[in-house]
Structure formats: structure tokens, C-alpha cells
């Protein structure tokens, strides 16, 4: 048996890691969970944001979190444009759009991956900041400061997005569009514009999320493949579109990953999120706090 200390350590690290997973999944929770866009390219967008942060940090020595904020407006407009293209070519045409929409986004993900490889190379990249490499000691436990930073920022991001979706006019409109698009149209609102705005927000969030990704660990161009498993696992387990669910599901994933890593070994790590995803899809596809029955 493993010792209680080790288990406790794994759980604490898992919770911190889980909050970080929530931050990188929030965007998908909006784009896939609320807007029904089969956004397989979400992890590729995330890695792209991380490389943006890396570029700013490496060339201008900007703090990674600040760099993440700096690229946020850029990502927002990128998201607006991306949704416009997706809508015009697939959603608007209707029939058989599903198959081709998925293939389209899968293709986009690979294009982004290759472009990053061509520009930055296949090597791992990391950022430098004062809080990277240090650790807090609590008793026997050693918690890397970078995970605590990620935990704090991720929690703040989750709370902000939850508040935005529940308190502001636009946020409520986004949730309305997810519930009944036709009703919204009858009220004189344009659902496409609202969805476009929401997709912009979902992409903009990736600025800070991408910064956290590269703060927590070095990134390489094919990392998006691993995050397909993590982000979709979190969003599907959460129940599509639930922000609270996203946080809970992400913490579950983080704790499970952390415990498996410290008991079974790192070689099984890639299978954890994908295995959980398969299990959730097979057993309870509506998720923990599903909006659809």
C-alpha cells in the first residue's frame, strides 16, 4: 500500500492541477457545450496561444501572464472570424454539415500543429518568470509555486466567466441561445451574432489559459493531441455547458491523474483522460450536471 502522506500529496497536487484543467477547458465548455460547435481544434488553438505567450516572453521578456492578457484581444477577433467562417460554410448550409464540420476542424487542428512546427521547430518550449522553479513547503509537502499561480489564476478565470454568463446581459443571451435559438429569433435577437460573440469569448479565454499551460509545463507542437482527451473529458463529464460542472469535473480528472501518476507510473498517463472520457461517454453521456436529459 502507498503511504497516507503520498496519497495526500497526490490529492493536493491533483486539486491544483484540476483547477488548471478547468481553465484550459472553459473555452470548450462554451464553444462545444453551449454552442454545439464540435470544436476538435480547441486544443490546437490553446497550444497556439501558448506559443504566442512564448514568443512575447522570449523576444520581449514580458511576464507570461501579462503576455496572455496581451494576446487576448487578438484571440477574440480570431474567434469571431473563425466562427463566421464555420457558420457560413457549415451551419448555414444545414444538411450533412456535421460530418464535414468535424473534418474541417480536425484539418484546422493539424494545420496549426504543422505551422507551429515549421515556425518554432519540434522542440519543447518554456517561459521564464520569477515564480517558475520555486516551491512552497508545507510540512513534508512540496508544492511547486507555478502550480499555485496556475491554481489562483484558473480559479479567478472560472469565477469571472461564470459571473459573466449569469450576471451580464450578453452572458444571459449566450445561455439563452444555447437553450432555444428559435425563441431568441422570435424575440428579435440575432442568434448568429450572439453565438459569434460567445465563440469570440471562448477563444479569448485561451490567452490566459495558454499562458497557464506553458507556465505549468513546457509545451511542444503535438501537445494538443493529449489535450483533446483532457478538455473533452472535462467538458463531457461536466455536462455540456455547465461552468460549475467544468470545475468539478476538472478537479476529478486532476486528482485521478495525480493519484495514478504517483502509484502506477507515468507511462499510463496518456490513457487516463481518454479512458475516463470513454467511460463517461459510454455510461453517462449527459455528464455530471447535464443540461440535457
Amino acid at each position: 500500500m502507498i503511504s497516507m502522506d503520498l496519497l495526500l500529496n497526490a490529492v493536493v497536487l491533483g486539486v491544483l492541477l484540476g483547477c488548471f484543467y478547468a481553465a484550459v477547458s472553459l473555452g470548450l465548455s462554451v464553444s462545444f457545450g453551449l454552442l454545439d460547435v464540435p470544436h476538435v481544434a480547441h486544443p490546437a488553438f490553446l497550444i497556439l496561444a501558448s506559443y504566442g505567450v512564448y514568443f512575447l516572453n522570449d523576444s520581449f521578456d514580458i511576464d507570461p501572464l501579462l503576455a496572455g492578457l496581451l494576446i487576448t484581444p487578438l484571440l477574440f477577433f480570431f474567434g469571431l472570424a473563425a466562427y463566421r467562417i464555420y457558420y457560413e460554410t457549415f451551419e448555414k448550409r444545414g444538411s450533412d454539415a456535421g460530418v464535414r464540420g468535424i473534418a474541417f476542424l480536425f484539418g484546422i487542428a493539424f494545420i496549426i500543429e504543422v505551422l507551429i512546427i515549421l515556425y518554432f521547430g519540434v522542440d519543447q518550449r518554456s517561459v521564464s518568470a520569477s515564480y517558475i522553479g520555486k516551491a512552497w513547503r508545507i510540512g513534508d509537502m512540496r508544492i511547486p509555486l507555478r502550480l499555485i499561480v496556475a491554481f489562483g489564476v484558473a480559479s479567478a478565470l472560472t469565477v469571472l466567466l461564470t459571473l459573466y454568463l449569469s450576471r451580464t446581459f450578453m452572458g444571459r443571451a449566450i445561455r439563452a441561445v444555447a437553450q432555444d435559438q428559435e425563441a431568441l429569433r422570435l424575440m428579435g435577437a440575432n442568434p448568429v451574432k450572439i453565438k459569434q460573440w460567445a465563440f469570440g469569448i471562448a477563444t479569448a479565454v485561451l490567452g490566459v489559459a495558454g499562458a497557464l499551460l506553458i507556465i505549468v509545463a513546457p509545451v511542444d507542437p503535438t501537445l494538443d493531441r493529449a489535450y483533446i482527451g483532457r478538455t473533452f473529458c472535462v467538458v463531457v463529464m461536466a455536462g455540456l455547458g455547465s461552468m460549475t460542472g467544468t470545475l468539478i469535473a476538472a478537479i476529478i480528472l486532476g486528482v485521478v491523474e495525480s493519484i495514478v501518476l504517483s502509484t502506477v507510473g507515468a507511462s499510463w498517463a496518456p490513457a487516463i483522460s481518454f479512458g475516463m472520457l470513454l467511460a463517461v461517454l459510454a455510461i453517462r453521456p449527459q455528464g455530471l450536471l447535464g443540461r440535457r436529459s
Binding site: D96, L118, R225, F274, L281
Partner: protein, 319 residues
Amino acid sequence: MRGNSIAFWGAMALFLLAVLLMTQVVGNEYPFFAGYVILQFIVLSVAWSILGGYAGYVNFGTSAFFGVGVYTAVFLVKATGAPLGVQIATAAVVGALLGLAVGLLTLRMQGIFFSIATIALSIVIETSVTNWRYVGGAAGIQIQRPPVMELFHSYVQMLFFVQALLVVLAIAIARYIQRSWIGRGLRALRDDELAAECTGVPTLRLKLLACVVSGALMCAAGAPAAMYLQYADPSSAFNLNYSVTVLAMSLIGGTAHWIGPVLGAILLGVTQQLLAVTISSEVNVLVLGVMLVLFVVAAPEGILGLVRRAVRYRAGGEA
């Protein structure tokens, strides 16, 4: 209809004869190395289209089936030294079972959920193989080729011919499915699964059948790859690049007819072989991705759709 069938089988026989002749006449090894890969992708794309094209289930797990095919062969070679034919047949059986498992697991899933589940399966199987010491684990495994059959000059030539046989088999099966009630049923469930079910189409059984046939063919296509490369490792055998390549080939060719994936695989396969000689493999994937995206946006029915539109336009112009 009968004349059509005679023409089809005649063409297939001619194709095999040409391949056989080529192995006897051409001395240079390179055409067989390159041609093998193209033939392999024809089998994979045709197999993919049985589920992805006719039934409309986008399978991202081509890599899972391909890799399982490779490792079935690796396991058999290491454990029993079984000959190539047995490796391929066993891989087909394993692939059929895996297809059945995928079908059963994803019964209630549609659209993106099915696609994501197939990616997940691929990664889970890859991780399991990585942790399986007997077949080499993460480091991979070297494989010794047995002596070649007397008919052929080299092992690669033989593999080339074997893969050509698989091409004929895959096309024949796809053609049969497309022209029978199975194909009509699959198309019905693609257009509207609920309506199909209500009008008495056994959607569940058809879907399982498509998964099984598609899976068996993909695994069979993967099995000879172990002997082709004389080496196997999990991260290349289960590489998601196989999934995106096959997806691109099928959709670019067009999935309404079995000839679509064949055209797509030949077009993209030849392009890739040319690019691989001249430029890097990254550019290869880039070209593939860009072509996939362009076709999906601008020519939703693929090359088949473009040809059909051109024919219709010409007919309309003359009338």
C-alpha cells in the same frame, strides 16, 4: 447490371495482372516501396468510407485499427513465427472484434461524440501497447523477415502484391455493400437515423456490421506494415496522422461511391510520395490539411462531386 459486373471484375483482374507483371519486370525496388504505401492507403480509405461515407460516422480512430493490425502481426511473428497470410487473416479477425467493440461501446453516440470516442480508443490502446513489454514497449521492436516466396525477387515486391490483393478485396466488399440493401440502409441511417429506424431499417445491426467490416479491413491493411518496415513502435503505429490522412483521402475523393476514396488515396498518396522525396514530412501534413480544409469548404462532395457537376454542366450546355 451484369455487364457492369463483368467490366468490374475484368478491371480488377487486369489490375492484379499488371501488379504481378510489374513485380516480375521492374528491377528497381523504389517503385514498390512507394507503391506499397499508396495501396495501403487505398485499402484504409475504402474501409473508412464504409462507415464514414455510407453511414456518416466520422471515425478518427483509423490509427487505432491500423496500429492493432501492426501489433497483431508483431505478436504473431514473435510468439509463433506465423506466415504473412496468417498474420493478415488474424489481424482481420481482431479488427472485426475491435470494430464490434467500438460499435457496441458507441451505440448511442452520434456525430462528434462518436469521433472523440474513436480518438480516445486509439490513445488508450496505444498506451496499453506502450506498456506491453512482450512486444517491445515504448522503444519498439525489430522484426526479421522470413525468406521470400520463390515467385518474387524481394520481400517488398511480395508485400506490394499482397497489398494489391487487399485493395481488390476491400473494393469488392465496398462495392457489394454499396449496391446491396446494406448500403441503402446505411445511407438511410446517415440521412436520418430516427426516420430510418421508424421505417424498419435495422439501424443498430447495420451500424455494427459497418463497424465490423471497416475495422477488419483496416487491421488487415495494417498487418503487413510490420514486415514492410521490419520494425514497429507504438507512437508511429498508432500515429493520429493515419487518421487525418485517411479522412482527407476519403473526403477529397468523395464518399458517395467506392471509387471516391480510391481516387483520393491515389491523388494524395502520389502527391505525398513526391513531396516526401523533395520536401520535409511536415510540409506533407500541411499540404494534406490544407487540401482537406479546402475540399470540405469548397467541394463538399469531393472529386466525385466535381466530376458529376462538370458532366451535368456539359449535358446542360449541349441541350
